[in-house]
């Protein structure tokens, strides 16, 4: 670089430097409707993948003392459209299907015969609020062992009495805090909280803890990913 340049050469120099920076305008593809959603879906998938890499399957969820748990009447419940699918408990069963050795219908007492785990864990809603509650139930991994699930399968897919559906990765299903929950605060689940059986996944965001379970499938292929996920929420979203 000479220490002295004429004006036109300086102009060319600065123009070239500006051109070198111009690829930044490629970010405009995020503003253009034709490419926006594809790019954002790609970004979200990448984030899901990255997050699954730092998920520690044996790292326990943070647990709390009884005094830190909210009283039951102040524990919020969200429902996506109907408050109460009016399940008839007398005929309720959980249908188990897919890559399992013992498919079929499972009644609540079969699930309750598994070792019971009671834990005070934090439920975090995607909206931003959180609530520490007392949850009791069977470890999901114990139930998967009971039905003879293929643990090399990739996903657990669940369907609910209120048309909600969701899916999760096997690593989270096997995580020791992941429960098939049938009790809160030592009492059978209230209908608003998903009676008679729901998921309680303290290492996942709230909408993954599906309520009113009616069907559980072990699978490698997902036809649908989840009620909210199919509308744009992240699928992986661990806590």
């Amino acid at each position: 670089m000479p220490t002295s340049v004429d004006r036109s050469r300086f102009k060319r120099l600065t123009r070239r430097e500006l051109l070198k920076l111009s690829p930044v305008v490629l970010l405009g593809a995020f503003a253009w409707p034709g490419t926006r959603s594809a790019l954002l879906n790609l970004g979200e998938s990448f984030n899901d993948w990255a997050e699954s890499k730092w998920y520690r399957p044996n790292h326990h969820a943070t647990t709390f003392s009884d005094s830190q748990a909210l009283p039951l009447e102040r524990f919020p419940f969200n429902s996506y459209d109907v408050l109460e699918p009016e399940i008839d408990f007398a005929v309720w069963k959980l249908e188990v299907a897919g890559l399992v050795k013992r498919p079929g219908d499972y009644l609540l007492d079969r699930i309750q015969s598994l070792p019971k785990v009671v834990q005070n864990t934090r439920h975090v809603c995607v909206e931003g609020w959180d609530a520490i509650g007392n949850f009791g139930g069977a470890r999901l991994r114990d139930f998967l062992a009971m039905v003879g699930a293929d643990e090399r399968a990739r996903y657990i897919y669940v369907e609910c009495a209120d048309d909600y559906y969701d899916s999760l990765d096997m690593a989270t299903a096997m995580q020791p805090n992941s429960l098939l929950c049938y009790e809160m605060y030592g009492k059978p689940l209230l209908r608003g909280h998903g009676a008679p059986l729901r998921l309680s996944l303290p290492t996942k965001i709230g909408y993954k803890s599906a309520k009113y379970l009616t069907r559980l499938e072990v699978t490698n292929v997902l036809r649908r990913r989840g009620y909210w996920e199919d509308q744009g929420y992240p699928w992986y979203y661990s806590l």
Binding site: V5, E17, D130, P202, S238
Partner: protein
């Protein structure tokens, strides 16, 4: 005090009666890329963050819910919570790598001495405060940035790091339980994340005011790297 002019400076030759002009290469290409990528991603993160916050505009319990502050709807990005999460979780992957590249470059190249606050800048803080806020005399400028500028840029980098750390504690409070604990738990981490955003916003507003006050030549230098007629000897 050590004078730190940019590495390259030229004289633009006289042309028919015009006075010769100096020009200094202030911003290497890496720095310009990092500036614009982090500026764009930071704005996307803030506006989508407001949309995310809007789903529960409170820092208290859900029952009963007391809203904290209502933000202007116009400045929200994503349309709804799910859309905003997509923007937020996508652009964090531009923001973080950009920040890492910037810091690596600054320290590897020694450019940090131009842009960031170092112990040598301490003595120059008070004269600048006196000039800006107390009608004091203008201190002689011997390098591209004055000590207060460097302090501001260094603080905003610290805020950017805090934004990422508080964000991680809000997003993954179980996997990063040590971070969440450090911030007083998930619940408070969400408040810190918001507070750090407010700090970044404060910087952005001040930064834009200063850009306007310093005019086109100063602004152009962040596009081309070159500043014509710098206010310090080169």
């Amino acid at each position: 005090m050590i004078s730190r002019p940019p590495a390259i400076a030229v004289t633009i030759e006289t042309e028919r009666g015009a006075a010769a002009e100096q020009a200094a290469y202030e911003h290497p290409l890496v720095v310009r890329y990092c500036h614009w990528l982090s500026a764009i991603s930071l704005l996307v993160l803030i506006f989508s963050g407001w949309q995310i916050y809007w789903a529960f505009p409170s820092f208290g319990p859900k029952i009963p819910q007391h809203d904290f502050v209502h933000l202007p709807r116009l400045l929200m990005l994503g349309g709804w919570l799910g859309g905003a999460l997509q923007w937020h979780l996508t652009f964090i992957w531009i923001f973080v790598p950009t920040g890492l590249v910037y810091l690596a470059y600054e320290f590897a190249s020694g450019n940090y001495r131009q842009a960031l606050f170092t112990p040598g800048d301490v003595a120059g803080v008070w004269p600048m405060v006196r000039y800006y806020f107390l009608f004091g005399p203008k201190p002689v400028q011997s390098e591209p940035y004055n000590p207060l500028q460097k302090l501001a840029y260094t603080s905003v980098i610290a805020l950017g790091m805090l934004a990422v750390l508080t964000g991680l504690a809000v997003y993954n409070p179980v996997q990063f339980s040590f971070l969440a604990k450090l911030m007083g738990g998930f619940h408070l981490a969400r408040l810190w994340h918001f507070a750090v955003m407010a700090g970044l916003l404060f910087f952005i507003v001040g930064h834009l005011i200063m850009v306007v006050l310093h005019g086109w030549r100063n602004f152009a230098s962040m596009l081309t790297g070159w500043k014509r007629d710098p206010e310090y000897p080169v």
